[in-house]
């Protein structure tokens, strides 16, 4: 992993990996959503609204995975002082927040016909909303840290690690507390879903994950290019100053 700490090596890999992630992810998402929308069957109890699952579940997974990315990068930043770790954490924040918001909105749109309400303050929905607010707080803190400290402060990394406590709360909320939300249908190596729903769901989840990875790589490339441009301009300005 430390081999990727070198920005030049990272950029060499990101240049060919990013289009593969975005292109492959886009194709998989297109096929999976078309399959889910037009060819997968309606569910016996929920009818056509079950088709929202092909967006809602990948968005929920990526909302949580985004924060795990921030937490992992924060750990690498604090323990190994990995030069790309803070950039990776910042790159995960926006896509993580976008997918968390998509999860909340599609869940609400699914809840109205399925439960008869747009929103309930139960454990799963509330902990997911808390995750969205954690993203907003983390992004504000990272921006303030960049403006005041040139990104050298450790506060965002510590916040990233502490905020990860919400991830198991989201996961186990439907087991620990009574909830409108159903219990997990897919666990390690087991699925309560029939294959006709499961395959398009797995394909959509994999496709959105590739798109997420592509966005993170694009954002990391943008941040690195910004840093390199700043450093070069500063060096040139220093050379012009006569002491």
């Amino acid at each position: 992993m430390h081999g990727f700490a070198n920005p030049a090596r990272f950029l060499r890999i990101a240049r060919w990996l990013m289009p593969i992630c975005l292109g492959g992810g886009g194709i998989l998402v297109g096929v999976a959503l078309g399959w889910g929308l037009f060819f997968a069957p309606a569910e016996r109890l929920q009818g056509e609204t079950v088709r929202i699952v092909y967006l809602h579940v990948p968005a929920a997974w990526l909302g949580m995975a985004g924060w795990m990315g921030i937490a992992g990068a924060s750990f690498a930043e604090l323990v190994w002082r990995h030069p790309l770790a803070a950039i990776a954490a910042r790159a995960c924040a926006v896509p993580g927040a976008v997918f968390t918001a998509v999860c909340l909105v599609t869940g609400s749109l699914w809840g109205r016909p399925a439960w008869g309400t747009w929103w309930v303050w139960d454990g799963r929905l509330t902990s997911m909303l808390v995750l969205l607010f954690l993203y907003f707080g983390w992004m504000a803190l990272a921006q303030a840290n960049e403006a005041s400290d040139g990104g050298q402060g450790k506060a965002p990394a510590i916040f990233g690690l502490v905020g990860a406590v919400n991830i198991p709360i989201i996961h186990y909320s439907v087991i620990w507390w009574n909830s409108q939300h159903q219990a997990p249908s897919i666990t390690m190596g087991k699925s309560a879903m029939s294959a006709e729903f499961l395959w398009p769901l797995l394909m959509a989840t994999f496709g959105f994950t590739l798109v997420f990875a592509g966005v993170v790589l694009a954002r990391m490339r943008a941040m690195l290019a910004d840093q390199q441009a700043e450093a070069r301009l500063r060096r040139k300005a220093m050379n012009k100053v006569d002491f």
């Binding site: 975005l22 929202i52 809602h56 896509p95 490339r221 290019a225």
Partner: protein, 46 residues
């Protein structure tokens, strides 16, 4: 009495919001990457 709800309205709204938000995020990430790399290249040439 149950109100009549057309499920397709909710399904289509979900797809428009989910796919739209993802597409906007991808486009903005690519644009900001291009802009930043062009700025870096310009700084190198100066």
């Amino acid at each position: 009495m149950r109100e009549a709800i057309d499920p397709w309205t909710f399904v289509i709204a979900s797809y428009v919001i989910g796919v739209g938000a993802t597409a906007v995020m991808v486009a903005m990430s690519l644009l900001s990457m291009r802009r930043a790399e062009r700025r870096r290249d310009a700084a190198r040439k100066r």
